[in-house]
């Protein structure tokens, strides 16, 4: 078990102008299926109106976490609160939370209109109000002309829009989305990412978005909750999680990185001849340096300070990617690093590289073998 937990709200607030109102609070939730611990001690706060992604590989427990919030599963321990209301003991139909399912789960025996109207039919909402709100919801997702169509007659992307309208027609305070874009082809997917994000801004409903695609999570989210094997690795804004990853896993899962095993002595980190100042306590530590933070040294005569770290390395491979090129280099002591630089001239032989000590981020080693 990990001992330090990241207070999600603190990190998430870093880039927000005002402290957001807490909407949902997941407190020390655990869930086990048979002998398989799917979620262990998950604590997570979701703010009103925010777009939070639960990011993780398959089997990380992200869908289970979503199903616990929706009410399709009960936690073995822990609590889920929405304001002053305890959710985890309520059946799903009594929770003011709606879900967009991975396969959309539209009712095949009902028209698009009736699918969207379903929740109001169940509540016996007056007919004229139902049609007004359904039309509004369908207009919001640009599906008005398909109102009388059968779900089986419309495309996947259109079904997705109907599922969204159906889930949003009651203006829930929280919308759960279970990998809703995974069934769409790449182009449509990119388009829907932006549309979904715009829609979320427009309606102001908090979205909890489950995905295994780190790029998607980066593009869409206000905050990302990175889940791994049933535990939260880090909860932070995309920028924060990229520039200040908390763990080796977070650093490697989101983007590429160089992980440096260093020895800290008297607040100086040392690794393969490189030295820089750190506030870490003495002992072994792991630092992450993003490939784009490393640049070819501008002048060979500069002395190496503690704020600029310089090293000498030999080029192994070079991958030209257009605007950028990816270099794999090796220092004299055998340390291999990847460097991402502007894709200008071809490079070969040996040369000096440098990075700012501020870009070397101390990460908790959560590598499990």
């Amino acid at each position: 078990m990990r001992t330090t937990s990241i207070p999600a709200s603190q990190i998430g607030d870093a880039e927000k102008p005002s402290a957001p109102v807490e909407l949902l609070s997941v407190r020390s939730v655990a869930k086990q299926f048979g002998s398989n611990m799917v979620l262990r001690d998950i604590s997570l706060n979701i703010a009103d109106g925010e777009f939070l992604s639960i990011l993780g590989e398959s089997g990380s427990g992200k869908t289970t976490l979503l199903r616990l919030i929706a009410g399709f599963e009960r936690p073995d321990s822990g609590e889920i609160w929405m304001g002053a209301e305890r959710l985890d003991r309520l059946p799903p139909y009594k929770r003011r939370v709606n879900t967009v399912f991975q396969n959309y789960a539209l009712f095949p025996h009902l028209s698009v209109f009736e699918n969207v109207a379903y929740s109001m039919r169940v509540k016996k909402t007056p007919k004229n109000e139902v049609s007004a709100r359904v039309e509004q919801a369908l207009a919001m997702v640009k599906m008005t002309v398909f109102a009388q169509a059968s779900p089986s007659r419309i495309s996947g992307g259109q079904q997705q829009r109907v599922a969204l309208a159906r889930a949003l027609v009651n203006r829930p305070r929280l919308l759960l989305l279970d990998e809703p874009l995974s069934a769409l082809d790449a182009n449509l997917r990119r388009q829907m990412q932006l549309e979904l994000k715009a829609l979320q801004r427009e309606v102001g409903v908090a979205f909890v978005f489950v995905t295994h695609d780190q790029e998607e999570a980066m593009i869409m989210s206000d905050r990302i909750a990175l889940l791994r094997a049933g535990m939260l690795e880090q909860v932070a804004t995309p920028r924060e999680i990229y520039t200040r990853p908390a763990t080796t896993y977070a650093a490697q899962f989101i983007g590429q990185t160089n992980l440096l095993q260093v020895e800290v002595k008297n607040h100086i980190a040392e690794c393969a001849g490189m030295r820089w100042a750190t506030s870490e306590p003495d002992g072994p530590a792991t630092f992450s340096v993003r490939p784009e933070c490393i640049v070819p040294a501008s002048s060979a005569t500069l002395t190496t300070g503690v704020d600029v770290v310089r090293f000498h390395a030999r080029m192994l491979t070079e991958v030209f990617q257009g605007a950028m090129q990816l270099l794999q280099v090796e220092t004299a002591s055998g340390l291999r690093m990847i460097v991402k630089t502007a894709g200008g001239k071809a490079r070969s032989g040996e040369m000096d590289f440098e990075f700012s000590a501020a870009d070397a981020v101390s990460v908790r080693n959560t590598q499990r073998t």
Binding site: A70, G71, P91, P92, Y93, F107, P108, H109, K123, A167
Partner: protein
């Protein structure tokens, strides 16, 4: 892709089978229904519609036909009322006993029809299990004769025999309902009861129609149950056909009744097939 000869060889056995065992008998049956019987009990090939006129003229045929329809209808209704909840329970709520319960419903189908019908005889008879029990418990003083040899006994036997036939298509339809739809319904605020009526029932209608068709058509044409447990008051239309082809030796009249029954059943199958299509969403 395949040669004409190959196609012909492959298609021949089924075509031969259909012509020999389906088409020929039906055509013969149809032809017989327009022939006549002499008082000397000889079938003469003189074309007429007297047999059909006879069916309309003598009230007993229509009377027995209506009784058969009534019994088949009641059997279907009762089998639906028994089979649907059973199928729903096994499909949605049986948990890990699902397979076991399913097999338990299926097992009676492996037992001979005759044995099952006879079983009811020993249960319902005046010296039977039920009467003995009722008297032992002092509910009744004398054996209740109406239990056996009555339309009631026929219905009971047929319900017992055809409930699995209703159960199976309903169960299959319920199994095909994506469980995500049930979750979506709950998610949208519908209670389990509302979900049952608004999602599960509409999506299982094709199964209900198929099951009801099975049970109605099979019950309507049944002659063993009325023969064994029906008595004189429990006679059904097929018993008349059997006796016309047998002891009465009036094949043309029997053929006429059979032709009418077939028309009725075909019309029914046609109607239910259209209904099923209307309610099938995939």
């Amino acid at each position: 892709m395949f040669s004409r000869a190959y196609k012909l060889v492959v298609a021949l056995p089924p075509i031969a089978w259909v012509v020999l065992f389906l088409l020929t008998p039906y055509v013969l049956l149809f032809a017989y229904s327009f022939w006549a019987v002499t008082p000397a009990q000889q079938i003469v090939h003189s074309w007429n519609v007297q047999n059909y006129a006879e069916l309309l003229r003598v009230p007993v045929y229509l009377h027995v036909l209506l009784r058969s329809v009534r019994i088949a209808g009641s059997v279907t209704l009762l089998a639906l009322l028994l089979g649907y909840p059973l199928a729903y329970y096994v499909s949605f709520h049986a948990g890990n006993r699902k397979e076991l319960l399913y097999q338990l419903v299926i097992i009676p189908l492996w037992v001979s029809y005759l044995v099952r019908a006879y079983a009811w005889k020993t249960i319902l008879g005046s010296e039977g299990v039920l009467n003995t029990l009722l008297q032992y418990l002092h509910v009744t003083r004398h054996p209740q004769e109406y239990l056996l040899y009555s339309p009631f006994a026929v219905m009971l036997t047929l319900v017992h025999i055809y409930t699995p036939f209703v159960f199976l298509p309903i169960y299959a339809a319920l199994e095909h309902i994506p469980r995500g739809l049930v979750e979506a319904s709950h998610d949208l605020g519908a209670s389990p009861m509302q979900t049952f009526w608004r999602v599960i029932v509409p999506l299982s209608i094709p199964g209900m129609i198929a099951g009801a068709t099975f049970s109605f058509v099979l019950s309507l044409g049944d002659f063993l149950a009325p023969l064994l447990v029906g008595g004189p008051s429990g006679i059904m239309i097929s018993n008349i056909v059997v006796s016309l082809f047998g002891t009465a030796y009036n094949w043309p009249l029997g053929a006429a009744i059979s032709a009418c029954m077939m028309a009725l059943v075909l019309a029914l199958l046609f109607a239910t097939e259209r209904l099923e299509k209307k309610w099938r969403f995939t």
